[in-house]
């Protein structure tokens, strides 16, 4: 599976992680194009269902990226997001999926480098896990 290119969705909060992603671009720090970002006002807005739906639709990995602990612009949305991600990890475990297919990350607006690093590491991780069962089926359907 060396040429496997995973589909990865990243839900990023407007104030911190999305800005960090912009900064990675501004500084031309490259990270895998597998990562596609969906902007949300706050990671606390990311419903656990969204993570499941992303996997259902064929994402091989999904992560939520919010502000650093204590920096959330809406007090504690990032901690709620963490709880949602943890819940979905448990569900995946019950399903016999690798829980590592979902993750939570934290960046401040200035952490472009770290954003790229996180994207890289997550992509590597998913590559090593291989395609998700759903993406295989979706792939076959096309």
């Amino acid at each position: 599976m060396s040429n496997f290119e995973p589909e990865i969705v990243a839900f990023c909060c407007h104030y911190c992680a999305y800005t960090a992603a912009d900064m990675a671009g501004t500084r031309r720090i490259s990270y895998p194009s597998n990562v596609k970002i969906i902007r949300v006002p706050c990671t606390g807005k990311v419903d656990a269902i969204h993570l499941m739906k992303a996997l259902e639709k064929g994402a091989d990995g999904v992560y939520v990226a919010g502000c650093l602990d204590g920096d959330c612009h809406f007090k504690n949305g990032n901690l709620r997001a963490t709880a949602h991600v943890e819940k979905i990890k448990k569900v995946l475990e019950d399903l016999g999926w690798e829980p590592e297919r979902v993750a939570m990350m934290y960046f401040s607006a200035g952490m472009g480098e770290q954003f790229a690093q996180g994207a890289k590491e997550f992509t590597e991780k998913i590559k090593s896990l291989g395609p998700s069962p759903a993406s295989q089926t979706v792939g076959k359907a096309v």
Binding site: A48, I49, M52, V91, L95, P133, T137
Partner: protein, 230 residues
């Protein structure tokens, strides 16, 4: 409120294994309030079932619907069309709702939650047992704290010797109900009442007398009359 918790996914997978098209039905009452079987949980469980079927390499179509209340036949009637399309139903309502659905549709109906207890919300995400439905409420003599539901031994004349710093002998996380009752009596200035012996409980109204039913003649009258006329 009746509280419930989602069943282990593996158990639900086991129930639905033989079927290719199922309906997950939520209830917008108690189980929504305790975040076990509302629209959101229906969505999450449906997603999980789909992902599971994909992993298992089997065909599975999952429909989703949430009723206003699953323990009323009129609401359950609304499932008619959807139920006609599926092989089986997973209900996320409490045991009352599940049985109402099962009574109305001639396809297998499986529980998606474990119905737990009648409880109150202590804070966001935490519910605690408050009532056992003993049918003969004694809160009037115990300062508004129920020893039947909240004392591990349902003692009528507690506390037992296991009370340590106000916590029950079974766990430090459980308050000693009789300590609470005593505190409350003191707070209300009626601690003298403590020494009145509370007689052994008659368990008939609690279900000892068989399955219970309430018939409100005034409300049920028209129904009875209609039936009689028919």
């Amino acid at each position: 409120m009746i509280t419930a918790e989602q069943k282990p996914l593996q158990e639900i997978f086991g129930y639905i294994a033989p079927y290719e098209k199922i309906l997950v039905v939520g209830c917008n009452e108690c189980v929504t309030v305790c975040a076990a079987g509302g629209r959101k949980e229906v969505g999450l469980l449906s997603s999980a079932l789909r992902l599971h079927s994909v992993k298992a390499g089997k065909k599975l179509e999952v429909l989703e619907h949430t009723l206003e209340r699953q323990c009323d036949p009129e609401y359950v009637d609304q499932l008619k069309e959807l139920a006609g399309q599926v092989d089986a139903i997973v209900s996320l309502a409490c045991g009352c709702g599940i049985q109402t659905v099962a009574a109305q549709y001639a396809i297998p109906v499986f529980p998606g939650v474990n119905t737990k207890f009648m409880g109150a919300s202590e804070s966001q995400g935490i519910w605690a047992e408050r009532c056992m439905g003993c049918g003969d409420c004694m809160l009037g003599v115990t300062g508004g704290i129920c020893p039947v539901a909240r004392c591990s031994k349902s003692l009528m004349n507690g506390p037992c010797g296991g009370n340590s710093s106000g916590k029950c002998e079974i766990s430090e996380d459980v308050d000693c109900a009789w300590q609470l009752i005593w505190n409350r009596l003191v707070e209300l200035g009626i601690q003298d009442r403590y020494e009145e012996l509370v007689a052994a409980k008659d368990w008939r109204p609690a279900g000892g007398g068989g399955p219970r039913k309430i018939i409100r003649e005034d409300l049920a009258a028209s129904k009875i009359i209609t039936e009689d006329m028919a």
